[in-house]
């Protein structure tokens, strides 16, 4: 039997946490590639979220060579299945995908309790017209890398009632400013490039753009699991957040891209 994709994992708690935290929509596209598995959720063409699980995370990993393997399935079902034993440990997971028209098969063993779960999640074909642009190539204007915990603290402390969030980057003070405005008041948070939470600060020209706060809030849940956040911007106001998630010596990533809001004439 010619399998398109198969992989084995032993510890997938972090994978579950990450996928659960980015389940903004029911369906996701899975793309097993040679370098790793990419799970992508797209929303209304102005936000794109991907989780990227490098090949090193897996115990074994096979993807059929010279084949663009991709399929759609319910991310909600996949995450529920990964969490089938709750928080209990010592599990092993094997997944196989035989090709278009076949389900994604998972076998999850609970090695302490002598329980086996087998599961077939039905898949759908991916609309051929869906392009996978490399958004990372567009975000080349500025780059700031910050400590994820501290950055998360700052974002969660912002005025929740604000509809949007204004981002300002500058080579001069205040360097990195996040502002909000709401019916109750205004807020300004300044992060110096010399702050211990800033690990890298690359900014040559001033950059200013406004983003929907709701879209930013979506990403906060998964930021809980991240160690570092890389913030990059592009010409068109595109904002890229790349989250680095460490698990032991292994790493996985979440990439989040948001387009800026149309500016009022000023």
């Amino acid at each position: 039997m010619e399998t398109y994709f198969s992989a084995e994992l032993t510890d997938f708690k972090t994978l579950y946490n990450v996928l659960k935290a980015i389940t903004f929509k029911e369906y996701a596209t899975l793309r097993p590639m040679e370098e790793g598995l990419k799970v992508t959720i797209e929303e209304m063409k102005c936000v794109e979220t991907s989780a990227y699980i490098p090949v090193q995370m897996f115990e074994s990993y096979y993807v059929r060579p010279q084949e663009d393997v991709k399929f759609k399935l319910s991310l909600k079902i996949l995450t529920e299945t990964l969490f089938i034993y709750g928080d209990d440990g010592n599990l092993s997971l094997k997944m196989t995908y035989k090709g278009p028209g076949f389900p994604l098969c998972l076998i999850i063993k609970h090695n302490d309790e002598n329980i086996t779960v087998d599961c077939q999640i039905y898949t759908m074909d991916v609309d051929e017209s869906t392009d996978f642009l490399c958004l990372a190539d567009e975000c080349t204007l500025n780059k700031v890398v910050v400590n994820a915990n501290q950055f998360l603290d700052i974002l969660t402390d912002l005025d929740n009632t604000s509809d949007d969030l204004d981002l300002f980057l500058s080579p001069n003070p205040p360097y990195f400013r996040i502002s909000t405005t709401s019916t109750m008041g205004e807020s300004q948070t300044d992060i110096s490039k010399n702050s211990e939470m800033v690990l890298l600060f690359q900014c040559e020209n001033e950059f200013q753009a406004k983003y929907s706060f709701n879209y930013i809030k979506q990403i906060l849940k998964v930021m809980n699991f991240a160690n570092k956040v890389s913030i990059s911007t592009g010409e068109t106001g595109l904002l890229g957040l790349q989250l680095l998630i460490n698990e032991d010596a292994k790493q996985m990533y979440v990439e989040y891209y948001i387009t800026s809001m149309f500016e009022d004439d000023r």
Partner: protein, 290 residues
């Protein structure tokens, strides 16, 4: 009609609390049936037309109570049936966690019939004890309605199989509940219990093996037989409401209990937990019709 009972052993109070806590997770209301040697808690199934218990719990009087006085409705029927909100009894009883020295449970009439709990708490500084009274309004069930709460009798189970640890099962069923409404419970004659959900998105089953079989009625009409080499595997199956099944698993996190699962093929599933001498609880899940 009089009822008065006294507990002085804090461990027994806590056992009672934990049982009532479990029951409160199964249903809003419960019926308490008091007879001279036993106290029963009966959870009616709210869905079914003719009233049928969903859960049936038996507590032997001598395990819990130091004193137990009962005057039933009549000499012929020396029993009392009460109905009340299970959560109220659970909340009122939760006070026993605060170092209770004695707990008196009695039937009183304070404008409405009440089950009154009088709890004596040992005070922290060795001062005089605190006295606590909780009045739980109850409804007295008339003699003519007692039949609604008769113990269900089933003798025609096709299989009775030992249940594995409830905690992992609870986790699994909790996840399954998020994906499906119905649960297919099946057991085979080799000691394998399977829980399965099937929807248009997913087909998922969990298998538990090497479980003790207490009885297996061979040669059913409805049994499905799988031929492949495995010598005469017979499977008994029933499809039940996943939410009710999960309620039982959530509620029944009781210690020292052994649980058995019994299935009537295509009809019903019974779960029975027992702690010998202290508690027995049975839950009945009927086949989903469709």
């Amino acid at each position: 009609m009089r009822f008065r009972a006294l507990l002085v052993d804090n461990a027994a109070m806590k056992d009672l609390l934990s049982t009532v806590n479990s029951l409160s997770k199964l249903s809003k209301d419960c019926v308490m049936r008091i007879v001279s040697r036993k106290v029963y808690f009966i959870i009616p199934d709210e869905d079914t037309g003719p009233r049928k218990p969903l859960a049936w719990c038996e507590l032997p009087v001598n395990f819990y109570f130091k004193e137990f006085n009962l005057d039933g409705v009549s000499q012929e029927y020396n029993e009392i049936y009460l109905c009340f909100a299970t959560a109220m009894l659970a909340k009122s009883l939760s006070t026993v966690k605060q170092n209770a020295k004695s707990l008196k449970i009695k039937l009183t009439n304070k404008q409405t019939p009440c089950l009154t709990l009088e709890i004596e708490l040992a005070s922290n500084e060795g001062l005089q004890n605190r006295q606590l009274v909780h009045d739980i309004p109850v409804e007295i069930i008339a003699r003519k309605n007692w039949n609604d709460f008769a113990e269900p009798q089933f003798n025609d189970f096709h299989v009775s199989i030992e249940m594995p640890h409830l905690k992992p099962i609870k986790n699994i069923v909790e996840r399954m509940k998020n994906m499906s409404h119905s649960l297919i419970v099946s057991a085979n004659n080799f000691g394998r219990l399977s829980l399965q959900i099937k929807t248009n998105m997913v087909n998922l089953s969990a298998h538990f093996t090497n479980l003790g079989i207490q009885s297996f009625a061979v040669g059913q009409d409805n049994e499905s037989t799988v031929g492949d080499g495995s010598a005469n595997e017979s499977i008994v199956t029933a499809t039940i409401d996943i939410k009710k099944f999960l309620m039982f698993l959530t509620g029944m996190q009781l210690n020292h209990c052994r649980t058995t699962c019994s299935i009537v093929h295509g009809k019903m599933v019974k779960l029975a937990s027992e702690q010998v001498g202290a508690l027995s609880l049975q839950c009945f899940f009927t086949e989903l019709s469709n």
